[in-house]
Amino acid sequence: MLEINNLHVKLEEEDKVILRGVDLSVKAGEVHAIMGPNGSGKSTLSYVLAGREGYEVTEGTATLDGQELLEMEPEERAAAGLFLAFQYPVEIPGVGNMTFLRTAVNAQRKARGEEEVSAGDFLKLIREKAKKLKIDAEMLKRPVNVGFSGGEKKRNEILQMAMLEPKMCILDETDSGLDVDAMKLVSEGVNALRDAGRAFLVITHYQRLLDHIKPDVVHIMAAGRIVKTGGPELALEVEHNGYADILAEVK
């Protein structure tokens, strides 16, 4: 589903290289985790895939089901089925959560040549999905993420994912700032979306999220590259011994 080949990325404004040849292949139905020390390029990878400005791809490709992602506008990537759950969900005062989501759902449907969802059907659907994530009606009415707690923001990201039903979900440190109960709730939301046609790329610092969202493949990223790939046991190894051993080993 997601194929990344030899991806090199630098910051547009300065001469700082962040990704130095990332290779990654995620198939439909799989859950991949990316772990790695601070500054290894994990979040940059997620931003570059989603199309954030400020980065320059100097080499390499990234495709989603064969479509070249890096050529597309962010909204085209979303319509093609890519979703990024932000590490820091953005507060947008003045834009109602509900309005935002309905605009997004219908814009994607329109881009794919599908019919828009009626206001009534949308309301029914969002209420049902929000309930599972313990998001109350009041939160849906409020401006996007404004005044939300850290946990509420992350749940709101998962709600968006559930409503947009993307093919490829990237979760950027979705566990950061979550207490144990919130982590469980968010993980349940993610697990409910797991199916054969959908893939996940979970970026995290900690193994504990992977107790809830069980990965098929774990990658370790360091200095802009994926340096080691293995099964779930790799995450446990990091948890016990830190990154030092692995980094020493690959050097």
Binding site: G51, E73, P89, V90, L164
Partner: protein, 428 residues
């Protein structure tokens, strides 16, 4: 002395072709206004309150021609509403296009008809609030209006008006120069919603004096038309009694020059005054809001929310003052003026002022200029919202706080839709 002479010369040229009838109570009020005006002369760029706005177009003897604007299929603002319509075409009242002005609890008269009498309730209002509003800041175009207004309505509200009174200002001439003066008096406990819309004239000078007595409520919503080239100078003078409410919202889209002044005096305890504006300008657009709110009683609340979206070299100006007089304890004053600059050619000039002579008050003000938030834009796009739609959403979000000042949800929605279509037409 040279400046003064220039002002006098400008005034002589400006009023050379104007005249007024000197009969009745109105004649006396006009004469007094002319005396005030003669003592001030017309404003110049060196006047403190005209530093950011060039009054030349307003001072000129003749209005600059303004091409007529065709709004296409877009219906007029407030079209769907049940209201009492009073129509002015290029500043002249059009009785055939207007509704029967009878409305329970509301007396509506034309200034030109009521002005010739010996006595009238409006005598205590016409030019009176304007004259008071000349201190400490001179407002010569308001005095000029009081002296030479050719039309206007006098509205006295004794009960709760069942439907809004709607002043519609149409324009059919490229060179019309209209001067209208309205007086509105809300008796204790009365309530009225006043709507105003339309471009009015190539050059429009309007004064509205509003007396809101104890416990009365006044809602004012206006749209200044979409004409690109028209010029306007408008003044609202309001005096608020105890526990009264005054709320005014203005939508300005386009217009070569707009100067909207609002002078409010809170004279009774626990009165509330809100003034808000959403202005959107593209290109040859200069929009100036000049506000002066005086807190003269205890526990009054005032709120100013001014938001401007500017692009392609448009200019926004805000001069807002809160004056808290000695003894006006527990005053709650809030002032917000913000601009969203969609490019580097546009500019926003703001002069917020607070002058406080009471020690137990809460006053705050904030003024900002900014661009669209790239992070928010990316967030919306990453959810599949196309860039231009995302931008419109963010612009509307920026304006939301001013639109929220409109109490009626129907009216707020109508204003929102207008702004949405404006943004759609002015995508960049």
């Amino acid at each position: 002395m040279a400046v003064l002479q220039a002002k006098q010369d400008a005034l002589a040229a400006r009023i050379a072709a104007l005249s007024f009838a000197d009969k009745g109570w109105l004649g006396a009020a006009r004469k007094a206004a002319l005396d005030r005006l003669a003592a001030m002369g017309l404003p110049g760029r060196r006047d403190e309150y005209w530093r950011y706005t060039d009054p030349a177009g307003l001072n000129a003897a003749e209005p600059a021609p303004a091409a007529l604007f065709d709004p296409g299929a877009e219906p007029q603002l407030f079209d769907h509403m049940d209201r009492v319509k009073l129509v002015f075409v290029d500043g002249v009242f059009d009785p055939r296009a207007s509704d029967d002005p009878r409305l329970a609890g509301v007396e509506i008269e034309r200034l030109t008809e009521a002005g010739g009498r010996d006595a009238h309730w409006a005598r205590g209002l016409y030019g009176v609030l304007e004259a008071q509003g000349q201190q400490p800041v001179a407002r010569p175009h308001a005095a000029l209006n009081s002296a030479f207004a050719t039309e206007g309505v006098l509205i006295r509200v004794t009960g709760r008006a069942k439907k809004p009174v709607s002043l519609i200002y149409q324009r059919t001439s490229e060179g019309s120069d209209a001067i209208l003066h309205h007086c509105i008096k809300l008796e204790p406990g009365a309530e009225l919603t006043l709507l105003e819309n339309g471009p009015a004239a190539a050059r429009f000078n309007k004064v509205m004096e509003v007396e809101v007595a104890d416990g009365a409520r006044f809602h004012h919503i206006r749209g200044q038309g979409r004409d690109h080239q028209r010029q306007a100078v408008t003044h609202i003078f309001a005096r608020l009694g105890r526990e009264s409410l005054f709320k005014s919202f203005t939508l300005t889209a386009n217009g070569r020059l707009t100067r909207n002044e609002c002078v409010i005096e809170l004279t009774g305890d626990d009165a509330v005054a809100h003034v808000a504006c959403a202005a959107v300008g593209d290109g040859d657009f200069h929009h100036d809001d000049t506000v002066f709110i005086t807190h003269g009683a205890e526990r009054c609340e005032s709120r100013q929310v001014f938001k401007k979206v500017l692009m392609n070299g448009a200019t926004g100006v805000f001069q807002g003052k809160i004056l808290v007089q000695p003894g006006a304890q527990k005053t709650d004053g809030y002032q917000l003026s913000q601009s969203l600059l969609l490019d580097e050619d546009s500019q926003f000039l703001a002069k917020p002022e607070l002058e406080i002579y009471a020690d137990d008050v809460k006053c705050s003000h904030g003024s900002t200029s900014g661009a669209i938030d790239d992070t928010a834009l990316f967030y919306l796009q990453s959810r599949g919202v196309p860039k231009r739609v995302a931008q419109s959403l963010l612009v509307l979000a920026f304006l939301a706080e001013s639109i929220a000042e409109i109490e009626s949800e129907d009216l707020a929605e109508e204003i929102r839709l207008r702004l949405e279509s404006w943004l759609h037409r002015h995508e960049h």
